[in-house]
Symmetry: C2
Subunit: 358 residues, 2 copies
Amino acid sequence: MTVRPPAGRLPAPAPTLPAVPPRPTLRDVATAAGVHPATASRALNEATRSLVRPATVARVREVAAALGYQVNPIARSLKTSRSETVGVLVPDLTNPLFPPIVRGIEDTLADSGYTVLTANTDNDPERAASNFAVLQARQVDGFIIASALLDDPLMHEAAERGVPMVLVNRATEHLDVSMVAGDDATGIARTVDHLVSLGHRDIAHIAGPLSVSTGAVRLRAFRAAMHSHGLRDDRIVVAEAYSEAAGRDALVDLLEEEAPTAVVAGNDLLAIGCYDALEEQGLSCPDDISIVGFNDMPFISRLRPPLTSVRVPQYELGVEAARLLLDRLSGRTVTPRVVLLPVTLVVRGSTAPPPSGR
Amino acid sequence: MTVRPPAGRLPAPAPTLPAVPPRPTLRDVATAAGVHPATASRALNEATRSLVRPATVARVREVAAALGYQVNPIARSLKTSRSETVGVLVPDLTNPLFPPIVRGIEDTLADSGYTVLTANTDNDPERAASNFAVLQARQVDGFIIASALLDDPLMHEAAERGVPMVLVNRATEHLDVSMVAGDDATGIARTVDHLVSLGHRDIAHIAGPLSVSTGAVRLRAFRAAMHSHGLRDDRIVVAEAYSEAAGRDALVDLLEEEAPTAVVAGNDLLAIGCYDALEEQGLSCPDDISIVGFNDMPFISRLRPPLTSVRVPQYELGVEAARLLLDRLSGRTVTPRVVLLPVTLVVRGSTAPPPSGR
DNA sequence: CGGTGCCTTGCAAACGAGTGCATGCTCAGG
DNA sequence: CCTGAGCATGCACTCGTTTGCAAGGCACCG
């Protein structure tokens, strides 16, 4: 006659590796504390604790601690259909702009017990959609999106379906969701002011891709700023991407006509590309041409020459985005908010008065 | 008389937001296809598909596609106690060394349907332990750890409990788990060779923290290399951290005695700190002192002067670590493997022959 | 002294999917 | 024509929690 294992517990498979001691379950805690699992659940749960007699709460908690009990978030999620997890969509983690933002997000969400799932879109709408779907399948409670396009069907669709989300750094047109970014317009205005005060009058702009809000906003701000100084506002090249190569190409284009005395680059990567183009052509920054970047990426101050740039509080961007999402998830706030964080122009060695005679 | 909803389906709560259409469940698919949920499950599942008649499989799959069915990974995880999720522990995502590694990991794991949860330890064992616990509670199937210490009880404990894990970049002593890193020893040897061939004889080393394997390994390699050239191998300062500030302090210390003609820094951040110290003292690199870094971080070639450094294939490190973990998780490989990826010395402007007369 | 109501706890039904076992069917072989 | 093998499918239970409902106990009040 064979001995049958007690119903409900399968015999442990032959342990090939050092047996992982099975984690205690809520039932184990309940049994050990002499209560029903339901009671244990309530005692352990912050919100429902008041339903249980204090003495019982104490007993259950002690037992739980003694057994090293931890809730199984999977089981909980299945029941509550919330995962305490949020998805973060980033164009490319390898772009130095984003790690500080992501850390701001992670640090803030971690304090509220949330965990972050990140995915890279590489600026490809298809990859964005597929990653978005994967994260949704994983039941994330909400999204923080740093990869939005100006015209982004995916974002509209998600917003319409009521998916809790917050955009960071990049906005989408006609979309009524919360968003946090640096004050790009002011940053560009300060930049132009700075160059003009140095004596520059022939200033060009290398715009980021206009499919991205930062590209479009900074371009518009550039035009407005130049206009307000009574200067030509049409020396503009639109870069194909926020990359060094695109920045180089753009400046090469500009130099084919008459060279400007200063260039406002759409971001730091484009500015670095400008450095490359100048070096190729045997020109010097800032002696021949002044260059200004945007974002003040980590280590950008250590370039040759140190890049004048607009400092965007990247970490705080992440923190604020996370806060907005938490507000939304807790149901406190429903109405979308747009937060613009202040930026500051950091003047370094890449800007100087124009060559004499210009 | 009140109408009772059919058992098992609660009435939808009054929708305040645009109602999110409830995702179809396996049961919905089964009903629509006219089969039992169990059959639908088997039809949809790669491994069990062969149990179902091909015609039925086709019908179920069609219906599933039409309904836009996606498995609920939460429910599946609860049943299978695997989450298709892995935890990645990193010292600090903001350190430019790590984003490429993380991307390598994410890209590789994504191909196998895994999702990544990252956490930052800030080199704090306590934070490491707490994050490790959080990720374990989330039922991650395994870990990839870039934050291991040379003497790391947490790693030992986890390994003993049989937690599937792979170390990347940093190793732990006496630990029998898979690990992938750059070939540090060879990298340092090439560095010393290069400096010696330039004519340097008085070469110092700024070691990273000896609590981390890279610090210890590179130090040992430095000693060995110097010894093999018949040179003094005791001009060494150990930095407190892999940071710019620590690098600066270390070089200041060195300069208080007789200045070496070249410095091998434990990594690029320490090398950048050396630049700071030189600037403070009015010294020039490479004219007065040559500096070499390690890792070849992104953008490090654009410093002033461009830093000679040892290129470590960071992305591939991540890819390889992910592969090793996948092998382990699939049960194909059980025996730990140590993979050292080849590194190359990239010579740039920060190294030159020593000042004449030295 | 009985009734009423709260406070505390237990019961049981979910959440969505996977899986051992039983069952029913088809088909082949005797 | 009957039996047995084997394939296809269904049944029912389970994973670990949460939660609406019910029931028990106690105290208080009339």
